[in-house]
């Protein structure tokens, strides 16, 4: 099938970018990223016609677990399908003659490095500020030494599913990172291992989130709709509760 791709091309962090159109022949079995592999082969074979070179894009596992494949496809991070990463989106979701526009994630806190690649190290710095627990090292503890209630374990597990891809920020009209931070904070708040740092964690992570230049949440709900791991907006309600709890605890 024939696809017309409009791809954001930008030579470097400070270069001005723009959309460039390419016509490409794909099969319905290809994944969205394989389409880019095919496109890049074409671009590399024809350097005279395409001095701009291959399209730089992030990817790693190509099986929906690493969170690298950051693309905004026709205005939606990770494309049109629910709970699907870009690498798991297949061309059978499109039809012959479709025109598809692909842009990088856009946020002040995710500056474009080149083409579709953005720098998401602001997420790492948020994690460094509090997304960890303190444990005694040594032999692994027995599996059932630390009982956790079923409901809490389930909820913690759902929040822990976040792969840190940043689609929530890309989808948010305010480029807010509340869903990501909410998922990280709620995950650790729900398990006993997370209790030691519970109060300091939420304030430190939110402080770094603010300092990195993410926007403020106004509850649009676009993050949840775009999240490939279906992290619930409840993470944001939970984050706000944890913030209030920390404010009370530190006032004591």
């Amino acid at each position: 099938m024939k696809i017309k791709l409009n791809v954001w091309r930008q030579a470097g962090p400070n270069a001005t970018g723009g959309l460039k159109s390419y016509d490409i022949e794909v099969t319905e079995h290809m994944s969205f990223l394989e389409m880019f592999d095919v496109l890049n082969e074409q671009l590399l074979r024809n350097p005279d016609k395409h001095p701009e070179g291959p399209v730089a894009f992030d990817h790693d596992c190509r099986e929906g677990i690493c969170g690298m494949c950051s693309m905004v496809i026709d205005g939606v991070p990770h494309g049109p399908n629910k709970a699907t990463t870009t690498c798991q989106l297949h061309m059978r979701s499109y039809k012959d003659g479709d025109e598809i526009t692909v842009e990088p994630f856009r946020a002040k806190a995710f500056p474009v490095l080149r083409d579709l690649v953005v720098d998401r190290s602001s997420f790492d710095r948020i994690q460094h500020a509090g997304g960890y627990i303190s444990v005694r090292t040594g032999a692994a503890p027995d599996a059932n030494a630390l009982p956790i209630g079923k409901a809490d374990a389930d909820e913690a597990f759902d929040y822990a599913a976040c792969i840190g891809c940043g689609a929530c920020v890309a989808a948010c009209p305010n480029a807010s990172a509340m869903l990501f931070v909410g998922a990280k904070v709620s995950h650790l708040a729900k398990v006993p291992q997370g209790q030691v740092e519970r109060v300091g964690r939420v304030t430190r992570m939110v402080d770094v989130m603010d300092a990195e230049g993410f926007g403020g949440c106004t509850n649009h709900g676009e993050c949840e709709a775009a999240c490939p791991k279906e992290i619930s907006l409840d993470a944001i309600a939970m984050l706000n509760t944890e913030l209030a709890r920390a404010a009370v605890a530190s006032a004591k």
Binding site: G213, G215, E224
Partner: protein, 207 residues
Amino acid sequence: MALTGLGLVGFLVGHMAGHLQIFAGKEAYNAYAAFLQSLGGALWLARAGLLGLLVAHVMSAIKLNARNQEARPQAYAVKTNKATTPYALSMIYSGYTILAFVVFHIAHFTLGALPTTEMTESGGVRDVYTAYVLDFQNPLLFALYAAAMVGISMHLAHAVSSTFRTLGVMRGKYREPLSKVGPLVGIATGVGFIIPPLACLLRIVSV
């Protein structure tokens, strides 16, 4: 945002209940107005409190809006929204509509600075009732108020449920029911406020 907004919502509900007393007739309505005036110091305290809430709300709204615009310096060429609503996307505009309306409304009734019906006395108290009823027989004035109520409805339709999430209560099994409260409060407030002026326009309530 949430706390000042919630305070303002509290005022709105009381204010709306006050206005619905227009249906209780001239004496009752004028007595209510006179009662408010008789509060004296307390009235000024309430006015100062409301103004404080409004100023704090507007200032944090302007700051939040600026922060959110800075957070995405370059817009998408194509952006497809899947979850949000037109009223959530227009909060700052419905907010400014409300602000313009508040100024107009105070100039109209509190200061009497507009060329509308002169306030006279009746039975020893200011005859707010008659001025109110005659004013809203003017379709233009009615249309202005109606437009402002659309703004308030839209603002609250998003704001009230949004506040529940900001306060952390709208999650788990409370999510579905509480997400419906905002739109309901929005519609109820807009309709509740416009009923008395509409009744005047249609001569259901008359002098």
